[in-house]
Assembly symmetry: C2
Homo-oligomer: 725 residues x 2
């Protein structure tokens, strides 16, 4: 068993509760009732200063009166009572706590101080805890409900960890209404100790949990998140919603849990690195998580659409197709088999559309089984299987004709379909099945599906998009799993250059020096020399070979092209001389000139690296040149980078098409491009003094990327946090 | 009253039904029961060959036995019986029909023939009809339900027209469950007569309908759709889902209603022209339609977020921000007013987060009213107002402590909040309010909101996105409403050139001729001349002025640059001579050479026009040059184009940033660009022989677009459908 603190916390044999009373309208009481009433078999010890009995259990006035050190202490008391109480629990030997109490970091400086005291006290006693400012947890395997809401449903396979307690409390009725069952749920609150990554790791190890959904407002240690998730995601799907990446989202999150959010593009990149499927709503977190937790993995892209109605069939086909899945026409043989069971003019190809049809077992069993057996598809989406739902919808009109029978009586009078075979199909054929229905749990088919771990979603598009989520996980499962390359040694030449600028108090390296630093680590740059005089320039040009490029070289100058400091295609010494003088003229005062070989290429990319508080160095790749700002077609990752991660960045670009063989130009050597990205990350890790690197443009010369311009910016001081890196 | 055939069809004073019987499990019977049982006050005449009475109403063996010509005839009989029956109705003077019967165009050649007979018969008698293969209609104002499902709810304000009958039948329980009420619903089926545009126009005129949702698999007459929608959308929001634009969606749609789908990009463009808000699921069609139908128009971008929970508050803020709305911090004064009502550490800025809080009227009334009154926002999203929903969720645990009281008794014992003021807020302050709740209709707050036309959506993100839909309609409301410019006269020079090529049986015009045609209508091209000999080339260059460009000019040659047929920057006669010879060499056999002025610019766009079956001429604009294929950053519209529509195309590009002042280059004159797009559409309309026009690249020279290359392709024969245009 791993050392994850949640193992014991989620599986306590005994729980003490501070804050419960006999007043049923108090949060503490509701929380205690959930423990007592929802099936938990362990011991329960309420603490109460005055009452002798709370909720029918003997109450204890002090922690020291308890008959044993409980495995878990639960706090729903005012913030200022938490620390002394925790100390008491520490003294008797309790080592896990759930602190529901709010009033800590999220409230300002005083609360922050209180949270520090809490952490310090816990540390002293080796207590690991959830919260403060959390909403508890659920472990359905042992029927342990530590939330304010009543919740007693059979265990499910979806585990959830959330930085908002709402998503394991307010949503419990929502989940029950939709038939979504959980394995475990964890509200991490302020994460003063146990954090979302601990929860992720715990759910990753938990055998009851087959997929993990995370609600995230900010991750404290993104690198640890990536590495933990990478271990889990190849075999267990992880979904995440991140809402801290907009200005409004970040501000809201700050006042909620005090979490430090980061820009959306960094989270987008880190989720990709982590193999985490990003979703955009809590609904998707639950719905897609449900599908991923219950269905066999998708092994290919071919999906069958089975329906009793053209609209949903068309909408599902469209949504599957738009999501990267295929709805292939069935073979003539399979279509013939299908046609034996459907009305003469009904569509048999794919979608199969039975049109409105009362023999639901054809739709729910016969056709799906024929299709699954055929081997022609990798998954099935189904809309229209229904029984009671339809009967309920027409009953008000036929009640009179049925002799005034009551609805329930009428429903009982309808022969119950035998759905045993229908609901076994996914397991029998090891193919995912996702159901769409507008009828929810008012329909007996839907109830049967849900009971047998087949998700029923309330719109055709949602069912199709859940299947697309399965495709995302297929792609993640099949990714290459390479290791992080070792960091190279620090280049003395690079270190020396950087230090020289730092000693001079200059924070921007000129183009020549920037490229020297980068070239020292293997980033391809043009052959070039720095010239202070016309004669030096001509000599350099001869050494490099005509045609050459001349550029004014000063760290203070950006947008050189627009300032007439760049001269291209200089064919001879005279042209070099002329250009040298024109540059001096344009600059106004004497500046060194960079003489460089001509690198030609019509494709311009950009790459770079920067540091963002809380993220360490990040690497970016984008379209370059004049499109840099206009298209903002960028992708980010956290350094260091695996080779496969760097390659994936190339595939991320919307304009990735220009990396292909286009318009007579060869395919870009993306391997070399990936190596440049890896090196950028390494340089940032090796030199914490570098704040930012900017390669723009990277020209594609033939198939090879060459950084024809580069800029390196230093930190005013190397940051402490980075110096260890 | 307009001549729309649906006015009478939706408001009949008498209905005859063919296909109803006394067997309650027949579709025809269910349909008849819906008419009889859901409150319709008009006359009802069942036809039946044998029964004397059907569903308690006197039955008629023949149409000719009817006591009057009913306003509406409803058919749920086998397909082959429809035409003769319709003929009978025609003879007695019935002029409207709803044909539920399937087995027509959607089933193949025989069905297509039957549908033609149906149309012909209807035409003969002046009968206008819905269907065949439709699922009926609803008019809630007169409690007329012509569907198979029981549905009797108070009238709503959302009208829907659908090419899938499911969305007005199978979804009725879904809508009831969510509290979404309709004004009118129309299933158009195969659209043999009345089509989706008729339905749109009818709903546009209908005073009960405040927003319109359309489910679309294919539009027969896109130009009519655009012009109808443009009349409606400035004052009444129209939403549409289109699912025919993917390969799988188009195939599915074909087998469903036989509709001819079109590429997604054409629909994307025509919805924009029409001012129609495109959505991607039926859920959005209902949910956003509900919000648009019930809420006052959004007048600005500032939205308040009010919540009892950080997660939903953060998620709503993020989603609003990502959708183009603002969540501005409140003024200190307003925050002070808010703080008087919320717990000490709760957030007062925006979002207002009360944290878990039992005094719901603070959340549902006090805070929203303070905010609405302040004038600091243009709309409010609210999550967490609840009463019974929460009580239900905790009741199982407290039941015993409540002396074993029953749930309903318990709920009654709770003081009913007075929600009168809360639900009046949107009208009182004329500001939209959208509510998010996980509790659905199990909560009394939600019931009250819904009853008073305030939408309650089941996730925070959905509530925020509904508000974004209101923003979309604000943008549409505020668009310029300019007229279509008159078509210019045909240019004799252009007509002559086109005819010359056609007479020679050549379907591709060379670059020079292509530009001549386009220049005749005012499209800016470089000054250029065609030269057959070296001497002519040199002379032309002198006339035009150095530097010049030389290009091999032959309609057979594309990708001239890659084939060394283009020489740029020729500074003198010698260079022109040399280039002339190099072009002849590269071409292999003598070809004319185009001598052109040098147009320089780093920004490359492309524009063009083409015809797509069913759409007439379409105009496109995109990024050009090497990015044409790599980025596929294109936008399409149907010709002819208003100036404002052409301008909007410029704003559509993802890379629209390059049209701004960037990197020392001036802002592109988008007015001139828009005029080019208008002209392209006009040229296609004036010359039906042109199949395709391709301007790539359009270089931006300074701020002005110039078509430096052009290609014009002719039809093998001018299409009949276009010759009238």
């Amino acid at each position: 068993m791993s050392s994850n603190p949640l193992h014991l916390l989620m599986n306590p044999k005994s729980i003490a509760v501070a804050g419960a009373s006999n007043n049923p309208m108090k949060m503490g009481t509701l929380q205690a009732l959930s423990i007592i009433k929802d099936g938990y078999q362990g011991k329960f010890y309420p603490l109460h200063p005055r009452e002798r009995e709370v909720l029918g259990h003997r109450a204890y006035a002090s922690v020291f009166d308890l008959p044993e050190a409980p495995d878990l202490a639960l706090f729903i008391v005012p913030a200022r009572q938490v620390v002394p109480l925790l100390e008491d629990f520490g003294k008797i030997g309790t080592r896990r706590a759930v602190i529901i109490s709010a009033g800590f970091r999220e409230t300002g400086p005083e609360g922050r101080q209180l949270e520090e005291e809490l952490k310090e006290t816990a540390r002293r006693y080796g207590i690991r805890f959830l919260g403060p400012n959390c909403m508890g947890m659920l472990n359905t395997r042992i029927s342990l409900n530590v939330t304010v809401m009543a919740y007693r449903v059979p265990p499910g396979k979806l585990g959830i960890a959330s930085q908002s307690g709402t998503y394991i409390t307010q949503t419990l009725p929502y989940l029950r209404e939709r038939g979504i069952r959980l394995s475990k749920a964890i509200s991490v609150g302020n994460e003063a100790d146990i954090d979302i990554v601990d929860a992720l790791e715990y759910l990753g190890e938990d055998e009851d949990t087959r997929a993990i959904s995370l609600y995230i407002e900010g991750i404290k240690d993104p690198r640890r998140f990536i590495e933990s998730a990478r271990r889990i995601t190849p075999h267990k799907p992880v979904l995440a919603q991140y809402v801290g990446g907009t200005e409004a989202g970040a501000r809201a999150g700050r006042s909620h849990t005090g979490a430090m959010a980061g820009p959306d593009y960094l989270y987008e990149g880190l989720f990709k690195q982590a193999g985490v499927i990003r979703v955009s709503s809590v609904e998707e977190l639950y719905a897609f998580g449900w599908a991923l937790a219950t269905q066999p993995p998708l092994r290919g892209r071919r999906i069958a659409v089975i329906t009793n109605s053209g609209g949903p069939g068309t909408a599902m086909s469209h949504t599957l197709d738009a999501g990267g899945l295929e709805v292939p026409p069935f073979s003539p043989g399979l279509q013939e088999q299908i046609r034996a069971h459907i009305p003469p003019h009904a569509a048999s190809s794919n979608p199969v559309d039975l049109t409105f049809h009362m023999e639901t077992e054809i739709l729910s069993e016969t056709i799906p089984e024929l299709i699954m057996k055929s081997g022609e598809v990798d998954g099935v989406v189904l809309h229209g299987a229904m029984g009671h739902g339809f009967m309920r919808a027409v009953f008000p009109h036929i009640q009179e004709m049925m002799g005034g029978m009551e609805l329930e009586q009428f429903l009982e009078s309808i022969q119950q379909p035998d759905l045993a075979r229908s609901v076994e199909l996914p397991r029998r054929y090891n193919l995912p099945l996702i159901v769409s229905s507008f009828l929810g749990r008012s329909d007996n088919y839907n109830l049967a599906y849900q009971e047998h771990d087949i998700p029923v979603l309330d719109s055709p598009e949602k069912a199709a998009r859940a299947m697309v989520a399965l495709l995302r996980h297929k792609e993640i499962r099949e990714r290459e799993r390479d290791d992080l390359p070792p960091l190279p040694a620090v280049s003395p030449r690079a270190a020396e250059l950087i230090n020289r600028f730092l000693e001079q108090g200059r924070l921007t390296l000129d183009e020549y020096s920037s490229k020297q630093v980068l070239a020292a680590y293997g980033i391809p740059v043009p052959r070039e020399q720095l010239a202070e005089t016309e004669a030096e320039a001509v000599e350099a040009a001869k050494a490099i070979g005509f045609p050459v490029v001349l550029k004014g070289c000063s760290p203070e100058i950006i947008h050189k092209t627009e300032r007439n400091l760049v001269h291209l295609g200089l064919q001879d010494s005279a042209a070099v001389s002329a250009a040298f003088h024109r540059i001096q003229e344009a600059a106004g005062s004497p500046i060194p000139v960079l003489v460089a070989e001509t690198v030609s290429g019509r494709r311009e990319l950009m790459a770079g690296a920067l540091r963002h508080p809380g993220f360490g160095p990040c690497v970016l790749l984008g379209l370059g040149g004049i499109f840099t700002e206009a298209l903002r077609d960028n992708t980010f990752r956290l350094a260091p980078l695996r080779f496969s991660e760097a390659l994936e960045m190339c595939r991320d670009l919307r304009g990735r098409g220009i990396l292909e063989a286009v318009r007579g130009m060869p395919r870009v050597d993306t391997g070399r491009l990936a190596v440049i990205l890896q090196i950028l990350g390494q340089v940032m890790l090796l030199h914490p003094q570098i704040a930012e690197i900017d390669l723009n443009p990277i020209l594609i010369s033939g198939s090879r990327p060459v950084a024809v311009d580069a800029l390196l910016v230093l930190e005013s001081r190397g940051r402490e946090e980075e110096k260890g890196g």
